[in-house]
């Protein structure tokens, strides 16, 4: 029984939150990795793109709420999501036209492209702030729990509570659908395959008659969509704050690199490696230890690392990967 309680505690405090967070990171890392493999630079504006997309979704959600439209037990934001994707992807395409296109034409070095993306980051940051401000916003509505602590106790009779929030379930389900759609697109459709070909060997892709402008445009549309979805899921699960999204850049980059940058499967794996390490190392294991080792009450929280240092986890994993396996767990690109 004590062992079961320990298991429930781990599930409740580590496995469920880390799975949801990992799915959010994976979607973010997919966006970064996609831009990297097609446009060949690390997009520093991605965090702020997520913030912008989420900001649009929140505004539309408020609009729907004002009109009395709701999505039943599901958050209204899911209804607003497609509109947010359209707006964000349109902005991405516009940014490419006004900003990035020129640097592709002059064949700028990747590090110059990174600098350009910093400029775009400033503008996206400003747009987000104009749009929705800098305050923390909770926009999740609908049912809060799939299983709450009381239901769990009645169901199982266990003393250790387990809760499953609806946003966590929505995150994981949406992420699975999105990843499935993305892989279907990349693996089965002509356009998707042409994107992979372009990423693999740009010159040969051009020789084969693949239109680079089309590939780039589709990439930005997908990136806008991924960023909006990742941002909205993160915001539903936790809350929206523009600056937090900027800070997500580090774990997202870490996920992409740990998995092998340019490799979509790697991005997903990397997201979960980072999220489980982060949650696992910053969780106070006291409860679990007490269940597992009878007659011993640890004096501390048995927390390996304070939550204030959660970014140190991403960083450390990143550094370890850079030292031991710079191409990442799954073979990524090296340029």
């Amino acid at each position: 029984m004590e062992f079961l309680n320990a298991l429930v505690a781990i599930t409740n405090y580590v496995i469920i939150p880390a799975t949801a967070y990992g799915a959010q990171l994976a979607l973010g890392a997919l966006g970064v990795t996609l831009v990297y493999s097609i446009l060949r630079f690390s997009n520093f504006a991605h965090g702020d793109t997520m913030a912008f997309g989420t900001g649009v979704v929140i505004l539309i959600t408020w609009g729907f709420q004002a009109m009395g439209i709701s999505f039943g037990p599901l958050p209204t934001a899911l209804l607003a999501l497609p509109f947010g994707i359209v707006v964000t992807s349109a902005l991405m395409l516009g940014t490419d036209k006004v900003v990035y296109q020129y640097y592709r034409k002059v064949k700028a070095a990747p590090v110059v492209m990174v600098m350009v993306s910093v400029g775009v980051m400033f503008i996206m940051n400003a747009l987000t702030r104009f749009l929705i401000g800098v305050d923390q916003i909770n926009f999740a509505d609908g049912a809060r729990f799939v299983i709450n602590a009381r239901q769990w106790r009645e169901m199982t009779g266990m003393s250790e509570p387990l809760t499953l929030r609806s946003t966590q379930v929505i995150t994981v389900v949406t992420a699975i659908l999105v990843v499935w759609a993305l892989f279907w697109f990349l693996g089965r459709t002509r356009t998707g395959k042409s994107m992979r070909a372009f990423s693999d060997n740009e010159d040969l892709a051009l020789l084969s008659g693949i239109d680079p402008n089309r590939v780039v445009a589709v990439t930005w549309i997908i990136t806008g969509a991924l960023a909006t979805i990742a941002g909205t899921l993160y915001g539903l699960d936790k809350s929206f704050k523009a600056f937090t999204y900027f800070q997500l850049l580090l774990p997202i980059f870490a996920s992409a690199i740990v998995g092998g940058i340019g490799n979509p499967v790697g991005a997903i794996a990397g997201g979960f490696v980072i999220s489980f390490s982060e949650v696992g190392l910053t969780y106070a294991w006291k409860k679990v230890v007490t269940y597992l080792i009878p007659n011993w009450e640890p004096d501390g929280l048995v927390q390996l690392l304070s939550t204030d240092y959660k970014y140190a986890v991403s960083f450390t994993i990143l550094i370890l990967v850079l030292i031991f396996k710079p191409t990442g767990l799954f073979k990524g690109k090296i340029v």
Partner: protein
């Protein structure tokens, strides 16, 4: 008029010309081979034919129509196929997908062409689901040639197709190239292995410093004592 005629080509990448009044022609179904010492401008000549180089002078015609001003992509649409020397496959895509990308500009059904490629290179059919990057050097070259054949080109250009493969694989590749030529496709090929290449060539070009030095049938060049002494090592 020859099927492909690239006449009096002069030009280079920067200010200095690499090609000087270089002329290459290929007839229908014929194998033409460009040989010569290192730095003779062999690959450059081929790239000029394919439009990857700005020519100051000269004219390229294919099947009677002037294509001098066309981009490489447009030349592909006109019926040219090009197999670069290196980086000539999509490494993380399967063999089948590589061929599919070769047919990207085609809007009709390319299944028949793919079957033809598989008949030509049976090993590719066995490995159709494997990623091209995981294949051996010789198999990768087959994928590269197969990819170029997917557009049903009338002229296939190969830049050192046997670079870095074993002699046995080289012989096999040459056999396949002869088979391709028998189907009526013209072949223009740059080769380091001059002797073997000239043996299968209907026409041979010996380039030196961007100029035509000797031009004759493959057999004649092999028999020419000057060519033998200077380029074929006796």
């Amino acid at each position: 008029m020859s099927y492909l005629s690239a006449a009096n080509m002069t030009g280079g990448y920067g200010k200095a010309d690499i090609l000087h009044d270089c002329t290459l022609t290929v007839e229908k179904g014929e194998i033409a081979v460009i040989v010569g010492p290192n730095g003779a401008g062999k690959s450059t000549a081929m790239k000029a034919v394919f439009g990857m180089l700005n020519l100051r002078e000269g004219r390229v015609t294919l099947d009677g129509s002037d294509i001098t001003a066309l981009s490489p992509q447009d030349r592909v649409k006109k019926g040219m196929g090009f197999v670069p020397q290196v980086n000539n496959v999509f490494p993380t895509m399967s063999v089948e997908e590589n061929l599919e990308m070769g047919a990207f500009i085609r809007n009709d059904d390319f299944k028949v062409t793919m079957e033809q490629v598989f008949t030509l290179f049976p090993i590719l059919k066995d490995k159709r689901r494997q990623n091209a990057g995981e294949l051996s050097g010789g198999q990768r070259q087959q994928v590269a040639v197969g990819r170029a054949l997917m557009t049903q080109p009338k002229l296939l250009m190969l830049d050192e197709p046997t670079a870095g493969v074993s002699p046995i694989v080289m012989d096999e590749l040459f056999d396949r190239i002869i088979e391709v030529a028998r189907t009526g496709i013209s072949i223009l090929m740059v080769e380091q292995n001059a002797r073997q290449a000239l043996e299968i060539a209907d026409k041979g070009y010996v380039l030196v410093q961007g100029e035509n030095k000797y031009t004759d049938t493959g057999k004649a060049l092999l028999a020419d004592p000057d060519v033998r002494r200077t380029f074929l090592g006796g």
